[in-house]
């Protein structure tokens, strides 16, 4: 019954998406100043659709929580013995469930948009909702026609197949929903951009409507990528935090586009410049979300993320991708010329710096995109290649370094036009910090070039992030400016972590007999014992490692090699010892014939700063949203108050109680 309710809700939501699309399109045909009689259904349709889609997802969640084995999806991906949290997170740990989550978030954000957004002209809003409905419809069709999550089995299964053990982790409970909400938030930015383009309403008022959506999506993407990176770091047991894996790139590309879009929207809102560029980035950002979904969900990649290897589904998503992106770029090409050029600015100005930042981000995006698609491309010609860090690291650094330098200076520049001479002190300080940082580090030894540059830049960026506050009263700095400062500082923190990990990491690999000790950095690692243990749905070999720092009291680390039985698979559970200045990372391997155990230990100085930085960046984004919304609410309240006062004065004047002020002769 639960499944049938969910399925019915999904079909109804699809029907409402059609209504939303048609009704929204009618808004475009209404004469200016009037409302088309058929256009009033778009908003309610979006809201009810959101409720239905969320209901459908809740039904699937319920089916997974109760392990309803008559559902094909539950039987294929769950197991009655699994802990409840992993039963729930298993809902989106598979193809159909994750697509339902995607559609649910899409519908929910459409509903929120139509409930709370009343500033836009009705025609623009109608067009926006029509586009949003069109996008949603494609995904409803995809779900209902080719990946129905509520399909019943003819005979209920006796027991489920279980969930890929790599995915049985708390990281999975958080990482995909955050990332999806980010992807889908960009769909709202896309719909708004298309709506504004179709109705020629690309102006600062529109940018202010779009900005919270872009910021929100960007914050969620930042958090999702940070969580995903940490998950890969401790769960895969390889000691790395970024592998340039196509699936990681699929989440990085929308982030790069969203970062560019966020800065360009800021220019449009504040200065009415970069109109077409903002629209194009809006289209690009959502295209990258779609491409990410295609890469991950179509099965063209083999990875822990590619649940389905089903050519029909891949073709379906590719079709949707072509339809939306092709359609959007066609409309863009047809309409972009009609958008008047915005305000102009000099090359040396805050706008100029933001343009450079945008161009550099787009160039990095191109580098990552080409590197990700290249293996797929050559495979068509039967040449098999893999593209890894030797390509991605230097190629993206060529554009990232100038971008970071501009990021240090940009916030100090004035809008419209500025003179570099005004910033002599700041420029000298930043240059001195970069050069001094690099010189100081290279004094201590030979390090690879990129981490070295990273350390110098991180020092300069960390200081430069706070320079915009210089000479201002801290109490009166707007919240949104604090957001920018903290986000830029977060980038510096993260860069510092990456550079330290790259330059100073130490690794020790040895076969150790129980009782034996290995030394790494300041730590003495002793293998106390190796014991077999059992968990709820796995068994494991667990090593007891006693770690002594400089001969101090021992801390016990317990890395495990786990074996799951449903589905049968082995994973390596790393053990981490976190200090403020780094992490000790330990993994246990196989037993050699002579009874010794392989132990692999890393000391990674300041590696945690990578993720602290990510969290700071997201926090900056949250502050920016909070600041903007507060100013917005204040402005709205003030205008309501003003209107009321004017009405009062008018009412008093007409009743004759107080003689209306007469202009003097």
């Amino acid at each position: 019954m639960i499944a049938e309710i969910g399925l019915a809700a999904l079909w109804l939501a699809a029907a409402l998406a059609v209504l939303q699309m048609v009704s929204g399109a009618f808004a475009l045909r209404s004469p200016p100043g009037q409302v088309n009689a058929l256009a009033i259904y778009a908003r309610p349709a979006a809201v009810v659709q959101a409720i239905l889609a969320v209901l459908a997802f809740a039904m699937l969640l319920w089916a997974f929580a109760t392990t309803d084995l008559s559902l094909k999806l539950v039987a294929a991906n769950s197991h009655s013995m699994k802990p409840l949290i992993y039963k729930l997170s298993g809902t989106w740990g598979n193809h159909e469930g994750s697509m339902l989550l995607w559609v649910g978030v899409l519908a929910a954000s459409g509903g929120l948009l139509s409930l709370f957004e009343w500033r836009l002209p009705e025609r623009t809003m109608g067009a926006t909702l029509a586009v949003q409905g069109f996008v949603a419809l494609g995904f409803y069709a995809f779900l209902l026609l080719s990946s129905n999550p509520f399909e019943r089995l003819p005979v209920p299964a006796a027991e489920g197949n279980g969930l890929n053990p790599l995915l049985q982790d708390i990281g999975l409970a958080i990482h995909p929903p955050t990332l999806y909400a980010g992807y889908v938030g960009l769909s709202v930015a896309f719909s708004l951009a298309m709506g504004a383009l179709m109705t020629r309403e690309v102006n600062p008022a529109f940018a202010r409507v779009m900005r919270p959506w872009v910021l929100g999506a960007w914050v969620l993407l930042t958090l999702g990528i940070t969580a995903g990176s940490y998950w890969a770091y401790y769960e895969l047991g390889w000691g790395g935090w970024w592998f340039w894996d196509p699936v990681e790139n699929a989440s990085l590309m929308p982030w790069l586009a969203a970062t560019a879009l966020m800065h360009s929207v800021a220019v449009l809102a504040a200065r009415d410049a970069l109109r077409t560029w903002t629209i194009m980035l809006g289209v690009l950002a959502f295209s990258m979300s779609m491409l990410g979904t295609f890469l991950v969900r179509s099965g063209v990649l083999t990875s822990v993320h590619a649940f389905a290897v089903d050519p029909e589904r891949g073709a379906f998503i590719l079709g949707l991708l072509g339809l939306y992106i092709g359609g959007a770029f066609t409309i863009f090409a047809l309409r972009a010329g009609a958008v008047a050029e915005g305000k102009r600015f000099a090359a040396v100005s805050r706008e100029g710096a933001l343009v450079l930042n945008n161009v550099m981000l787009s160039a990095i995006l191109a580098i990552v995109l080409l590197g990700t698609l290249y293996p797929l491309l050559t495979e068509a010609f039967d040449v098999r290649v893999s593209v890894g860090p030797p390509y991605f690291n230097p190629a993206s650094a060529i554009f990232a370094i100038p971008m970071l330098l501009v990021m240090a200076v940009g916030p100090l520049l004035r809008w419209k036009s500025d003179k570099p001479a005004r910033l002599q002190f700041e420029l000298a300080l930043i240059a001195a910090l970069v050069i001094g940082g690099i010189a100081a580090v290279s004094f201590f030894g030979q390090f690879p070039l990129l981490p070295l540059l990273g350390l110098g830049l991180a020092a300069a960026l960390a200081v430069a992030a706070f320079l915009p506050l210089r000479g201002r009263q801290l109490g009166r700095v707007p919240v949104a400016t604090w957001g920018m400062v903290i986000a830029h500082f977060g980038i510096a923190v993260s860069l510092f972590g990456m550079a330290c990990e790259g330059a100073f990491s130490k690794e020790r690999l040895a076969a150790v007999a129980p009782g034996g000790t290995e030394q790494i950095a300041d730590f003495a690692v002793t293998l106390e014992s190796v014991t077999p243990i059992a968990g709820p749905n796995w068994t494991a070999i667990e090593a007891q490692l006693a770690v002594r720092e400089d001969g101090g009291a021992p801390v016990i680390l317990t890395p495990q090699a786990r074996t799951f039985w449903s589905p049968p698979q082995s994973t390596s559970e790393s053990a981490l010892l976190t200090r403020w200045d780094g992490q000790l990372y330990a993994v246990i391997g196989n037993q050699a014939e002579d009874g010794r155990w392989q132990i692999r230990v890393w000391w990674k100085p300041f590696v945690t700063f990578i993720w602290y930085g990510g969290i700071l960046v997201a926090l900056g984004g949250v502050l920016a949203i909070a600041g903007r919304v507060r100013v917005d609410v204040k402005r709205r309240r003030a205008s309501v108050k003003g209107a009321r006062r004017r009405a009062d004065v008018e009412a008093l004047g007409s009743s004759g109680g107080v003689p209306a002020p007469q202009p003097a002769e």
Partner: protein
């Protein structure tokens, strides 16, 4: 600057940067992409010493030996012919790395003709096959699946 010109200049700058990125990517990809070799290809036309490549094939039966330090492993990788390439790897072996299983070794060929692997990708679970091994021929794939699937009927 004349009206209309600013947008043109912006577009040109953006185009130059994107095209530059594209060219750089093309050049980088030609140099840095790791090409995939089967053992017979590596024997007949070996890559340059030190060039990062991937070698994929089957771990020859009875060829795995562990060095005295307990962490360095030597084994032979075979493909569709009798050619075999010796591989040396220091590190923790993938969980399902056994004799007769499929493996992809990332690394480079040393001057002594031994392939030094920096990373080994073996079968991860019963559903995952390294992408490069998919085209190895049905007979071998079936054999590999039978040999390396642990715990299934």
């Amino acid at each position: 600057m004349k009206a209309k010109h600013q947008r043109l200049i912006l577009v040109i700058i953006a185009l130059i940067a994107i095209v530059g990125a594209g060219l750089l990517a093309a050049w980088g990809l030609r140099n840095q992409a790791n090409y995939f070799y089967l053992p017979e290809q590596m024997v007949s036309a070996p890559p340059a010493v030190g060039q990062a490549v991937r070698l994929g094939g089957m771990v020859q039966k009875g060829s795995i030996t562990t060095a005295a330090d307990g962490v360095t492993v030597n084994f032979m990788v075979t493909g569709n012919t009798a050619d075999a390439v010796p591989v040396r790897y220091s590190g923790i072996l993938p969980d399902l790395f056994v004799e007769g299983s499929g493996v992809v070794a990332e690394g480079s060929l040393g001057p002594d003709g031994v392939f030094k692997a920096t990373n080994l990708l073996a079968k991860h679970d019963e559903n995952y096959v390294p992408r490069e091994l998919e085209g190895m021929g049905t007979e071998q794939a079936a054999k590999m699946a039978a040999d390396t699937t642990v715990g299934l009927k």
